[in-house]
């Protein structure tokens, strides 16, 4: 080690740049996280509270101006949404009534349920967290021990093992 690699005094400007870079890093991380966070939203057209909020008989739901989805009473469908704030347009096929709402999804949740009647009535709690019943993963793709065995010490390609680049398949 010579003098140049030994303790070098950081100039204040350099220090500021470094701190700035670290801050920028976390800002970018946060930005990408919020913008890229993807949620599954279940659109639920079921009556609630024993008929107080009736289901739509036939409704067209368009999320962020996309092709509308048609839902009859007691129907449920799902959409995948990136980001947290979304515009939802409901159009009742029966009376042509159009409702436009903006919803905000909680960032930490993967799967949410949106009750359309509640949304239309403008009530609180139209969005709730949905926990699927069969949360357990399907039991496929479990060949782990063999797989690891195949990677033996120097993980070189085994003969006949699929090449990492797919061969031409046409």
């Amino acid at each position: 080690m010579n003098a140049t690699t030994a303790k070098r005094k950081l100039k204040p400007a350099d220090l500021a740049i470094r701190i700035g870079l670290v801050v920028l890093y976390f800002l970018l991380l946060a930005l990408v996280y919020t913008r890229g966070r993807t949620h599954t939203l279940l659109l639920d057209n079921k009556e609630l509270d024993g008929g107080r909020l009736p289901a739509f008989e036939d409704v067209l739901v368009s999320v962020n101006g996309a092709e509308p989805i048609e839902l009859y009473a007691e129907d449920r469908d799902l959409v995948t949404l990136k980001g947290q704030s979304h515009r939802i347009v409901l159009e009742s096929a029966a009376d042509g009534r159009k409702i436009e709402k903006r919803i905000t999804l909680p960032i930490g949740e993967d799967m949410l349920l949106l009750s359309l009647p509640k949304l239309a009535a403008g009530e609180e709690g139209a969005i709730e967290v949905f926990v699927p019943l069969d949360a357990a993963p399907p039991a496929e793709d479990e060949a782990l021990p063999e797989e690891l065995g195949a990677t033996e010490m120097p993980a070189e390609p085994a003969p006949g093992a699929a090449p990492s680049e797919a061969p031409p398949a046409q």
Binding site: P145, L148, G149, M153, P154, P157, G160, A161
Partner: protein, 347 residues
């Protein structure tokens, strides 16, 4: 106390840790229901299988060619010998020694070519050896498919062309060494005396060779090429001799391995074998340019002990198979460690 400290420092901390780990595994074994005599049988078996490979590292390390990552060339020669012996229908001891005899010309020729090549690339031997080994293994993969062997136990049943991936040597030379004078002490403890004796013979011959004129010349060339050149030794010739011997031992090694393991493994199998041998001799205390018989024996025992004990003990204790990962980390870690030790690089 400083003596102990110095000894440990010379031996290298990683090796001490591996040694202690192995001791801990042996101590733990009975508590998790692993039979010690079973384990010992396994360790001895695997020691016998692999010792010759590890021994094959010695001449090239001594002559300054570094770690023989291209041991696969010797293994290929051995496989050819084994297959030819099977093709000729040799069996038993005749099969085994016939295979060695048939492998020899290939081993010598390949060793000569390999040695000539390594002489041209002094200073870069290890990386090149590795890729020469890989390329040859892949070339032989094509050959195993194309060569006109016809013994039905060796070729694919359908199509009648190309050698099988694994060939049983049951009918050829399985257990020729292992069963020779085998000691059966109790139900679980079996000592493969023949294989161990054969290993000992090889090690003795190597030890003897290193004491001969040629042997000392090989060592001299490795430890100080300039001095050796000045005193009239042909550096290139001595290096080639060491490479040929190493390649030949690789060929013998794979045959010893097969007779104990019971199968020939063709195609990609030889790709991985040199790394295990390299790791073993380094664990035994060898460096990139110095190795002894003690390093071979200790290293094979420690490495194979680790490979045998880790799966059985850790599986029994934790109910998970971590052995592959432990093996990856230990064997490659020790190689990296040895490569970063300060040694002169001969140009």
């Amino acid at each position: 106390m400083p003596d102990l400290k110095q000894t440990v420092a010379e031996f290298g901390w990683p090796r001490v840790i591996i040694f202690l780990f192995l001791v801990a595994l042996f101590v733990l074994a009975p508590f998790v229901g692993v039979r010690l005599d079973d384990s010992l049988t396994n360790v001895l078996n695997r020691f016998g299988q692999n010792a010759v490979f590890v021994l094959a590292m010695v001449p090239m390390i001594q002559s300054g060619c570094g770690l023989n990552f291209g041991l696969s060339l010797g293994i290929i020669a051995g496989l050819l010998g084994g297959i030819l012996s099977g093709q000729l229908g040799l069996a038993g001891a005749a099969g085994f020694f016939g295979a060695i005899a048939l492998a020899s010309p290939f081993a010598v020729l390949l060793g000569l070519g390999y040695g000539k090549l390594l002489n041209k690339v002094k200073g870069e031997e290890m990386t090149i050896a590795m890729y020469v080994g890989f390329a040859s293994v892949m070339f032989m993969c094509i050959m195993w498919l194309v060569l006109p062997f016809s013994n039905p136990t060796m070729i694919w049943g359908y199509g009648g062309k190309g050698l099988r991936t694994t060939i049983s040597v049951e009918k050829f030379y399985r257990g020729v060494l292992n069963n020779f004078l085998m000691i059966k002490a109790g139900e679980h403890l079996r000592i493969p005396t023949g294989t161990l004796l054969f290993d000992a013979l090889c090690a003795y011959l190597m030890w003897g060779f290193l004491k001969t004129r040629t042997g000392t010349a090989v060592t001299a060339v490795g430890s100080n090429p300039d001095y050796a050149r000045a005193s009239g030794l042909s550096v290139d010739r001595m290096r080639t001799v060491s490479v040929v011997i190493s390649t030949f031992l690789g060929a013998v090694g794979i045959l010893v391995y097969q007779q104990s393991y019971g199968f020939m493994q063709l195609y990609g199998a030889p790709l991985q074998m040199p790394f295990a041998a390299v790791a073993a001799i380094l664990i035994g205390g060898a460096s990139v340019n110095k190795a002894s018989m003690l390093n071979v024996i200790l290293g094979t025992f420690l490495f194979q002990g680790l490979l045998t004990m880790t799966p059985s003990v850790i599986n029994a204790a934790l109910q998970t198979d971590m052995s592959e990962v432990v093996r990856l980390i230990v064997s490659n870690g020790i190689i990296v460690y040895a490569l970063t030790r300060k040694t002169r690089v001969a140009k």
